[in-house]
């Protein structure tokens, strides 16, 4: 069973199977962008629509009312790629002077297609984000998956949020042409936000979100149970080795760990805000051509890379000191204290930080005053 989409070509309605509709839409969008600079764009588009309509009619009959995907594919092949007549002339003119370069001139009909990041559902483990990244970076998908799994484990789940964000932000490759482009434009920011909204809405509609989420949760729970079980067995075996003097070392170690992780956390949060509000790292601009989102992803990765070993050392330290809930609470209290202190120190002594925080408070005040004005 196939879903059918009704379209209008030059004022006449046709019914196409959904994959075929996606194909045709991509073809016409591409044609329109090729003709962008042509004064005849509207006319040529109408001509093309009419020609496609005629070809559709040719395959329809009294007992066949829907154009199937294979037929749409064939129609698109018959139509051939749309090239602007003026562009064609230019291309011929460029290669026309010398016979030797003529051949290459013909092949260089247009610039090579730019690569685009897509989610590729075919052969995907889950939503195809890794699959798309692998195609984009031209590496084997196994490496990307491995990297995602490792990052998720080391960041104790935080990295998984990146996957979720990408899932809503990156477009899904619906047609073979999309998939070709996946292997061959970094996407721009406005497109990004509107697409994320749209995808989120569509996703919610299909209830697939909940089903997938529950499935994933069950999967995680199972894995965590196994892991906990193994840990419990391991600690039980290690128990006799621990002696009481270790607890004293832990008491010295905990404040140091709390201070270091507070410094890292404060630096991370301030840099992140600086990136988001001013698109710079305290006045240091991102290298030219690096989009903001790459900067943010890089920052999160850096944070994870630095904070994870720290946490592991700390956990190790607590373990050897013999786990005591008091130590954990002690660490958390110290951490909060250090974070507050560091914020105050950096706000007082670093002008770059002050600028960021002030712009944030200014934005917050503005929001609050606007809200109160609307309410009052």
């Amino acid at each position: 069973m196939q879903k059918v989409v009704t379209i209008s070509l030059n004022g006449i309605a046709y019914q196409l199977e959904e994959p075929g509709y996606n194909q045709l839409r991509t073809y016409l969008e591409r044609a329109e962008s090729r003709l962008q600079d042509s004064p005849d764009r509207a006319e040529v588009m109408a001509d093309l629509e009419q020609a496609i309509g005629e070809k559709c009619r040719a395959v329809l009959g009294p007992h066949k009312t829907v154009v199937n995907s294979a037929e749409v594919d064939r129609i698109i092949v018959e139509m051939g790629p749309v090239e602007s007549a003026d562009e064609r002339e230019k291309a011929a003119g460029a290669g026309g002077e010398s016979g030797a370069s003529a051949g290459s001139g013909a092949q260089a009909g247009g610039p090579p297609p730019r690569k685009r990041l897509f989610q590729i559902r075919e052969g995907a483990m889950w939503m195809g984000v890794c699959n798309g990244i692998a195609a984009y970076l031209n590496v084997d998908v196994t490496w990307i998956r491995l990297a995602f799994v490792l990052l998720t484990i080391f960041s104790s789940g935080l990295w998984f949020v990146t996957y979720l964000v990408l899932m809503f932000v990156v477009p899904v490759a619906h047609t073979p042409e999309d998939r070709a482009a996946a292997f061959g434009m970094p996407f721009n920011t406005e497109e990004l936000i509107s697409r994320a909204k749209k995808n989120f809405e569509e996703f919610g509609e299909k209830y697939r979100w909940r089903r997938e989420w529950r499935r994933q949760q069950r999967h995680f729970n199972r894995q965590f149970r196994n892991m906990n079980e193994q840990l419990r067995v391991a600690t039980a075996q290690a128990q006799p080795v621990i002696h009481s003097s270790a607890r004293a070392i832990g008491l010295v170690f905990v404040p140091i760990a709390a201070l270091i992780s507070a410094v890292v956390a404060v630096a991370f949060i301030l840099t992140l805000f600086s990136l988001l509000t001013q698109h710079t790292v305290f006045g240091w601009g991102l290298p030219h051509g690096v989009p903001l989102w790459v900067g943010i992803v890089a920052l999160v990765m850096l944070y994870i890379a630095v904070s994870t070993p720290l946490r592991m050392i700390r956990h190790g330290g607590q373990q050897s000191a013999g786990y005591h809930p008091g130590l954990g609470a002690f660490h958390s209290l110290l951490w909060i204290g250090f974070v507050a202190l560091l914020f105050w120190v950096s706000y007082t002594y670093l002008p770059g930080v002050r600028e960021v925080v002030d712009s944030l408070t200014w934005a917050a005040n503005l929001t609050v005053s606007t809200l109160t004005e609307t309410i009052v």
């Binding site: 003709l35 040529v44 005629e54 139509m79 003529a102 051949g103």
Partner: protein, 107 residues
Amino acid sequence: MEITEKLSPIRKGLLEFVILKIVAGDKVYVADMLKMLGPTEFATQEGTLYPLLSKLRREELVDYEWQESDAGPPRKYYKLTPKGRTQLSTLNDYWKNLNKTLADLGN
């Protein structure tokens, strides 16, 4: 490289000439032009032909008129304009000269 591939820019360049020649006869519909060119070296597709015809019309070399059809909405039938006719005879002369040059060279 294949000979046909080597000469493909020449065929592309000649397409405009070829279309003027076809349109010089009777009024023609795009699907019929494609059918006519199909078996020749100048086989082409709607994706190429429509933009080219629109450009030729902008340059006032061809024009079209709408004709009712049994099989659907009215169709555009293309024909040559007086200006197009002058252009075509210039192109014809040029082509003859080109042929002559090619034949004479090396003899």
